[in-house]
Symmetry: C2
Subunit: 128 residues, 2 copies
Amino acid sequence: MTPQDNRDLFAIADLAREFGISTRAIRFYEAKGLLAPERVGATRVFRRRDRARLILILRGKRLGFSLRDISDYLSLYDANRTQQVSLLIGKVDERLASLETQLEDLQTTISELKEIKKLADDRLDKAG
Amino acid sequence: MTPQDNRDLFAIADLAREFGISTRAIRFYEAKGLLAPERVGATRVFRRRDRARLILILRGKRLGFSLRDISDYLSLYDANRTQQVSLLIGKVDERLASLETQLEDLQTTISELKEIKKLADDRLDKAG
DNA sequence: CAGCCGTTTGACGCTAACGTCAAGCCGTGG
DNA sequence: CCACGGCTTGACGTTAGCGTCAAACGGCTG
């Protein structure tokens, strides 16, 4: 069992294993300011909050965003506790717009692929 | 007026301008086999078909795919006229699965952002 | 005490997707 | 004729996002 038996503390390798990424990647995200685990001596110790951020990071990556974009995105969560609320709203609107474009692109692509598949399936049937 | 007055032939700069990309990028896509314009002498001449492929390429990029992925994707369209139909079906299924995952990611993200925005808006109201 | 793991910080390497010259060819207008 | 804009290939530069050592430290375990 790792650091503690309760699930509040994680070693870097725990998270790497859990999410199928490298420890190098995690350190890289920290270097880019996307994560800020605590330290015990020099060793990184991750809490649930860090783990939650990592999940957001990975989802952002699956969506094709750069780490820089993801960094901004994460700051939206943090910023909600700060003063710059109206600035935040602008950022969120921008991002929503681009995501909705992406959503349309995606839906178009998916239906095109389904169409292609249908054509292909038909040809298979004819061939027997 | 460029090459011809009817809209079947395009110069590289025409397409670059139309889609807001560089001519360098277009040449790069050709080098990677994503485009195969005709030549008149050494000069590239693009037809509607090439332009259609370029549109697909750019949509693929907006969706965060690599040129390599996009190349495979384009081959799905071409392959539909070939023999390897069942192999094609497998490819399409794979891609559909990953796109649908991406769609879910996207919907989750969008609703989270809307939630953040609502919180932020509320705070603005209170502040007056 | 000696290994051995897991961890750390550099530092260099690598691929993708172009940007950015450079040097040269071609056709047209003044 | 010659400048000029647009086209070509070639080569090198650049950024992002890690991979891959290397060298060193700290803590458990036999």
